[in-house]
């Protein structure tokens, strides 16, 4: 139910608006945060938040929550679905260990005080499927990022160095897929995989197209910036998952040089943990996190997210099909693959991170190192769900970033290999609560270009989470157990002004919106019509007029027109 809300006496952290653990009241009307004067106090529901932390709802800017990949993952792994979180009652039955059902995804985010989550890789031709699953996730706002980096249209326009047509194509494609921005996964590498290969360096040529990952990335950044989309290019780098790949990652980040945007980064490099390995083989693999952090910290136009690895079960699922095959060979595990028309591909492999396994322990350490060494205004907290592990473990990561003591305790149970191959044991830095709230709210919202998310200023969406501790009284270095527990079970989660969670329990079900970006006003799609017709006739297996998603097919869409 929609109420006017008066959240009273809470201790607010709102980094975007410079509020650092100050006692203040928050007012909510019609799903938005409003001035006190807008509220009729006699009609208003009061929430006493005395001595409790009040922040904006968490924003997960990179997770795999919807579409054919996670659903094939569920199908492949019935053992994942045996964990029962909730039997059917007022709410839907909810099951899943790391891979969750769609209702469970919404419920678990809500319980943690997260209110927004973005699907980070939407196969364009599968867009309707992705949207159907997004529509099945209750509680949170959502969106999906279509993948561009191996799409033949992109290769063609990059090869022709025709940025205008590339821009037009991007605008067309995002509109057709009801997508949110430009996701790039192993540019060129997935096309090479169609012939059994990969593009591991920025200058490997894509078979039959004469273009390189370097050119693809640069052109996509240029086009995205000229279109001035709300979100930048969102890049899964080449050479993922291979020892020594941190150099590729650094070289890739430098491609952002020369581009700028006064609102946000021009390049977001995602789940960097998987791209931050030093060494030359799995025998001498080490952490490249410090070198990467140095580069990111020295640039003002690149952001990253951690892609932290959590010990326990996970499922690797990416558009990086050649990497997934490598992982399958490495682990001898089940393997699904999907080559998709002329758009790229994807793969899925179950994995389990074991503390005593040297490589896994190193991956665990590297994720945390990135969170610690990169400035808090440039690194978002993620696990690349479900690749690095469950998003339900974000509270663990939060606590680890804030407490060296907790890290020391955890280091005792992991492979000693970490001591020599990683930086983590020697890192003294501890993030503050403000910083961690920034990394999970204001920053992720800014990276995505969502102006009404991640903060509690007037006009913001009334997505609010309240946690059961007083930030002014907690010692985050020592009270890590309290932190870890409190962030798992929000005292209140408020979504669009509706109380959906109370004391960690679901109390109401809401359906968030699905954002999509419309930049077609900035281009004339006529310019690429002939190319589209030709490609659809020759290389697609569906008709062009049946390709894509209409807004009316989406449950609760929000169209964002690019200015």
């Amino acid at each position: 139910m929609h109420h006017m809300l008066h959240i009273k006496n809470g201790i607010v952290i709102d980094t975007k608006n410079g509020i650092k653990a100050e006692k203040m009241d928050i007012f909510v009307k019609e799903g938005k945060i409003v001035e006190e004067s807008e509220i009729d106090k006699s009609q208003c529901k009061v929430i006493d938040a005395s001595n409790k932390l009040v922040v904006a709802g968490g924003v997960d800017m990179h997770a795999h929550i919807a579409g054919s990949k996670i659903n094939t993952g569920r199908t492949m792994r019935p053992e994942e679905m045996r964990m029962v979180r909730q039997i059917a009652n007022k709410f839907r039955a909810s099951v899943g260990r790391v891979l969750l059902t769609s209702p469970a995804i919404g419920y678990e985010y809500a319980k943690m005080g997260y209110t927004t989550s973005f699907e980070a890789a939407q196969p364009p031709i599968g867009a309707l499927h992705t949207h159907e699953e997004l529509d099945a996730i209750p509680m949170v706002d959502k969106a999906a990022l279509p993948v561009f980096g191996n799409w033949h249209f992109v290769f063609k326009y990059v090869a022709e160095n025709d940025i205008e047509k590339l821009k037009t194509f991007i605008a067309w494609a995002i509109e057709r897929t009801k997508g949110f921005g430009v996701k790039v996964v192993n540019p060129g590498g997935v096309e090479a995989w169609m012939y059994g290969g990969n593009c591991r360096s920025l200058d490997d040529e894509v078979p039959n197209f004469g273009v390189t990952p370097r050119e693809i990335i640069t052109s996509l950044i240029k086009a995205t910036e000229e279109l001035n989309l709300c979100h930048s290019v969102h890049l899964h780098c080449n050479n993922l998952g291979n020892p020594g790949n941190f150099e590729t990652t650094i070289e890739t980040m430098k491609l952002a040089n020369g581009f700028s945007n006064d609102k946000r980064q021009v390049l977001h490099v995602t789940h960097v943990q998987f791209n931050a390995y030093a060494g030359s083989s799995w025998r001498d693999v080490g952490s490249g996190a410090a070198e990467i952090a140095k580069v990111v910290n020295g640039m003002d136009n690149v952001t990253i997210d951690m892609g932290a690895a959590i010990f326990g079960h996970a499922t690797a699922m990416t558009g990086d099909a050649p990497f997934q095959f490598t992982l399958h060979k490495l682990l001898g595990a089940r393997w699904s693959n999907k080559d998709s028309e002329v758009e790229g591909g994807a793969g899925i492999v179950p994995i389990m991170y074991l503390p005593k396994n040297p490589v896994h322990a190193l991956q665990w350490a590297i994720g945390l190192e990135l969170g610690l060494l990169v400035e808090s205004d440039k690194v978002v907290l993620t696990t690349d769900f479900p690749n690095g592990g469950p998003f339900t473990e974000y509270p663990y990561v939060m606590a680890m970033l804030m407490s060296k003591k907790m890290r020391e305790k955890e280091l005792e149970r992991v492979s000693p290999y970490v001591q020599k191959a990683a930086n983590l044991p020697s890192i003294d830095a501890e993030k503050t609560l403000d910083e961690v709230m920034h990394m999970t709210r204001a920053l992720s919202a800014r990276v995505l270009g969502l102006e009404n998310k991640g903060h509690l200023g007037v006009g913001a969406d009334a997505d609010i989470s309240i946690y059961d501790f007083n930030p002014n009284e907690i010692d985050t270095s020592n009270d890590y157990e309290i932190i870890n527990k409190a962030f798992r079970n929000a005292l209140y989660t408020i979504k669009g002004g509706v109380i959906i969670v109370k004391e960690g329990q679901l109390v109401d079900e809401v359906w968030g919106t699905t954002y999509w970006v419309d930049a077609t006003n900035k281009v004339d799609t006529e310019a690429i019509e002939e190319d589209l017709d030709k490609y659809f006739e020759l290389y697609y297996s569906v008709e062009k007029e049946h390709y894509g998603v209409e807004e009316a097919w989406i449950k609760n869409p929000t169209r964002l027109v690019m200015g």
């Binding site: 019935p78 053992e79 994942e80």
Partner: protein, 233 residues
């Protein structure tokens, strides 16, 4: 010892995860919750329960072919089923003994790690197998079938012993890594992707073409670099 008799002919199956632990307390046993279709009911609503003596033993007297999960996860004690029994009997069993005087259904002793199961009659499929998505089937203990079995015997088996006195169907010891399967009669496909362990067969069988003849029998499966042994009894 408790004697448990069905009171009615069951319209749909009953899921009763009963173990010999129940023998300790009659009241507790009577109020033990089981599923009858969508209804959660007390054991006493469906079964007549009487206590005879103090040993840790259940005697299931009657037709239990529509009762599933009997003896699941049991650790010790004894269960005797006087008639037939439903699916998943003795699944995940850790110890004790189950004797079934009639026939058993699918998934008998699935993923069991210790203990003993004896079936006087026939059994269906997936004896000692791994449930879907799990990496290992039976890890220890012994299953003896006096009659026949159908398909999927000891799939992904990692230890223990399965002995079938009669015939069996297809897919014996598929992806088996350890343990012993003995079939006195005939069976169908044997040894696909077998990595280790031993299969001994008394009658006719169809071995995968990917085994190599050696002094100790046939060794394979070469597709997985297996060291499994298949030989005649």
């Amino acid at each position: 010892m408790l004697v448990i008799k069905p009171k009615v002919d069951f319209v749909v199956t009953v899921e009763a995860e009963i173990t010999p632990d129940l023998a300790e307390d009659l009241e507790k046993a009577k109020n033990f919750e089981v599923y009858y279709g969508k209804d959660k009911v007390k054991l006493k609503e469906l079964f007549e329960i009487t206590k005879e003596g103090d040993d840790k033993k259940l005697v299931l007297d009657g037709d239990f072919s529509k009762v599933k999960w009997i003896g699941c996860r049991m650790e010790d004690g004894e269960i005797v089923v006087k008639g037939n029994v439903g699916a998943n009997c003795g699944a995940y069993m850790k110890g004790g003994k189950i004797t079934i005087e009639g026939n058993a259904d699918d998934w008998l002793g699935a993923e069991m790690s210790s203990g003993e199961i004896v079936v006087k009659g026939n059994v269906k499929n997936c004896v000692g197998c791994a449930y879907y998505g799990d990496m290992q089937g039976m890890k220890g203990g012994k299953i003896t079938i006096e009659g026949n079995a159908i398909n999927y015997i000891g799939e992904k088996m990692a230890g223990g012993e399965i002995e079938i006195k009669g015939n069996a169907g297809d897919f014996i010891g598929t992806e088996m890594t350890n343990g012993l399967i003995v079939i006195h009669g005939d069976c169908g496909f044997v040894g696909g992707d077998m990595k280790g362990g031993e299969i001994r067969i008394g009658g006719k069988f169809e071995l995968m073409p990917t085994f190599k003849k050696s002094e100790e029998g046939f060794v394979g499966d070469v597709n997985v670099g297996g060291k499994g042994v298949v030989k005649t009894l």
